[in-house]
């Protein structure tokens, strides 16, 4: 028989160590499909490490890939703190990107000091608006937000395709379904010349710091944590549960929307229907690896981004499908979930 005894104090160091161990376990488990696919395991992982962090270029690629994951990871971390399971970051990202090109590709003219904040605000507002519906349905009527946000992802992606074939289609795009390019004044500037790294990264990091202060040092943060721990007791204690949920939903949606703005205005330059390679879903894994701690979102995003960037290199050098990255990330989510048990409980084995 397994018995779980709750731990009284939860040590942050132990929690972090266990979560890192879980990621290592995921990499070890992924060696099985790698081996079955016929790849030499250690050289393949060496190629992955080389591709993720083996050169300055590799590091900047990993940082560039981590940028959207910081936003979506933080989006999930804040929402999950309140037990608001926002799985709709993918859709919010796309709607945010659409709002970014709507204001940033010529509709408004002005200097960067005006256009860049406008693009970011538009994207955040679009993402927040999209998340308000499912949050309200959950808070008011108890409709499961996981299902509604997942279903909305499909709706939004179709809407984006419709817009890219319709009003948002670039007349100079050679017939491809893509938006007009973001104006240079509206673009997030690159951090290093001729590298793909852009200002989205520092913005994401600053937001993680702000989120940390919000969660741990403010009344709203206390309410978020209380609603997550026990909504009934929170309501009894006079916390406005629905209003707290709506605030969290808006913040979470806004962050995912910013991921979209960061990608179109910082990296791609225009919107296409394949903007995100599952960044919304990967954000959930980032948040879980980070233990829902805003400060830990940055290193967790780097880890997940490293897996994705490294897997591309591994794929090229060893002929393994880059779906191995998605596999590792999925395994990491499950392993971290199990590791959480060992953080919260003493697990004892007993004979019945």
């Amino acid at each position: 028989m397994i018995r779980f005894e709750p731990r009284t104090g939860i040590s942050p160091a132990r929690s972090m160590g266990l979560r890192l161990l879980a990621v290592a376990a995921a990499l070890a488990l992924a060696a099985i499909p790698l081996g079955v696919a016929g790849a030499p395991i250690l050289p393949a992982y060496a190629a992955m490490l080389q591709g993720a962090a083996g050169s300055v270029f590799a590091l900047t690629e990993t940082l560039a890939r981590a940028t959207p994951l910081i936003f979506t990871g933080l989006s999930a971390a804040i929402a999950f703190r309140a037990r608001l399971y926002n799985i709709g970051a993918e859709g919010q990202l796309y709607l945010g990107a659409l709002a970014a090109v709507a204001v940033g590709s010529g509709a408004v003219a002005g200097p960067p000091a005006l256009l860049v904040p406008l693009v970011l605000l538009a994207a955040a507002a679009a993402g927040a608006a999209l998340m308000l519906g499912p949050t309200f349905l959950k808070g008011r009527f108890g409709v499961d937000e996981v299902v509604t946000t997942l279903l909305l992802n499909f709706v939004v992606l179709l809407f984006i395709q419709m817009m890219l074939e319709g009003p948002f289609k670039d007349p100079m795009g050679g017939g491809w379904p893509q938006s007009e390019p973001i104006l240079p004044e509206a673009a997030l500037p690159p951090l290093v010349e001729r590298m793909r790294l852009h200002a989205g990264l520092p913005i994401g990091i600053v937001l993680c710091l702000l989120a940390h202060v919000l969660i741990s040092r403010t009344v709203l943060g206390l309410r978020i944590r209380a609603v997550g721990e026990n909504p009934a007791a929170s309501a009894y204690a006079g916390i406005p549960v629905l209003r707290t949920l709506l605030t969290v939903g808006a913040v979470s949606g806004a962050l995912a929307g910013l991921a979209g703005a960061s990608e179109v205005a910082g990296l791609k330059g225009n919107l296409t229907a394949d903007l995100s390679r599952g960044f919304g879903y990967a954000g959930i894994v980032v948040a879980m690896i980070a233990g829902l701690q805003p400060l830990a979102v940055v290193p967790a995003a780097l880890l997940v981004a490293g897996v994705f960037v490294g897997a591309d290199t591994m794929s090229r050098s060893h002929g393994v499908s880059s779906y191995i990255a998605d596999l590792i990330v999925a395994l990491a989510l499950l392993c971290v979930l199990v590791a959480g048990l060992f953080v919260r409980f003493k697990v004892r084995w007993e004979r019945a």
Binding site: G38, V155, Q161, E165, Y323, A330, L334, L341
Partner: protein, 314 residues
């Protein structure tokens, strides 16, 4: 208006409705079995994908169609067992574990596909199930082409509905499953192991879900495509709520949904060009959300749904 009536009066429309409804029938039935025992199975979307992949792969590698169906069911059962172990004895978050199983099953299916076919851009076809011809019934006017021209998997889905309804409401096993979802302490008071009942239900339900995926590659289409499940799993979760966790209503809901989808496909054809096709493609998802909201106020959730059971604790 008469165009709409023409659509509804055609046998081929109802045949399409049943065909579209079949994967949903498997999915909603599987979800219902899991949820009746108290476990929300959000692994469904990945189990659909893995089932579609496993069935197709088995046949592609030379097995016969029914062996493919069995391979799909076993694959579903394996992922069901994983989800059950995480959520039942370990009592982990059913939301996060379910999403994790979906991500794992989907990526494993895609990875396996690329191991078998590293570079193929057009997926190889298999010889799928053909329609069953029943003596007399298939020759009936209207009803013959509408109801009795389906592939064997549709009939399997309908049979499973009857079987599950019988087991749930007429057998001690069904009582134990329903009680595990309503009042697990009562199950334990009967000397039964709540965890075993739930694990069994999740494994069985997941095997049934996987058949919905197998229908896609082995009946509806004849190959495996990336992202071919297209959110059908999530739609099934919504349909389960809409059906108040009752097999009869679930069957009706799946068929209504199939009819709606078949109808929008035809309507899309009628007004081609005037309205963007994406508007029609959005409708199934929006309809699912609407269905959820419609019943939300009076949804009769199994009372222990998503509540882990710890032995000896009330």
């Amino acid at each position: 208006m008469s165009a709409i009536l023409d659509i509804l009066a055609s046998a081929s429309f109802w045949a399409a409705a049943l065909r579209i409804a079949t994967p949903l029938m498997f999915g909603v039935l599987g979800a219902l079995i899991c949820e009746r025992s108290g476990v929300l199975n959000l692994g469904i979307e990945g189990i659909f994908t893995a089932g579609a992949m496993a069935g197709w792969l088995a046949v592609h590698l030379g097995a016969d169609l029914w062996t493919g169906v069995l391979a799909a069911a076993l694959t579903g059962a394996v992922f069901g067992l994983l989800l059950a172990l995480l959520t039942v004895p370990l009592g982990l978050s059913q939301h996060v574990a379910g999403i994790g199983v979906t991500l794992l099953a989907t990526s494993l299916a895609y990875f396996t596909y690329r191991v078998v076919l590293p570079t193929a851009s057009t997926p190889p076809r298999i010889e799928p199930f053909g329609p069953v011809r029943l003596p007399v019934l298939s020759d009936l006017p209207f009803l013959g082409p509408a109801l009795f021209s389906q592939t064997p998997l549709t009939f399997l889905a309908l049979t499973l509905f009857g079987l599950v309804a019988f087991v749930l409401y007429r057998t001690p096993l069904g009582l134990a499953i329903r009680a595990a979802g309503e009042n697990p302490a009562a199950v334990e008071a009967q000397g039964l192991d709540v965890h075993l009942v739930r694990i069994g239900a999740v494994v069985t339900g997941s095997a049934v879900m996987a058949l919905g995926g197998a229908f896609l590659t082995m009946s509806a289409f004849n190959a495996f495509f990336f992202e071919m499940t297209g959110g059908r799993g999530w739609i099934c979760i919504a349909l389960t709520v809409f059906a108040s966790w009752r097999p009869g209503k679930a069957l009706l809901g799946a068929i209504l949904f199939g009819a709606f989808d078949a109808f929008q496909l035809r309507l899309q054809h009628e007004v081609a060009g005037a309205v963007p096709s994406q508007v029609f493609l959005m409708l199934p998802y929006l309809l699912s959300i609407a269905a959820l909201c419609l019943v939300a106020r009076r949804a009769d959730y199994p009372k222990a749904l998503m509540i882990p059971y710890v032995k000896g604790q009330r």
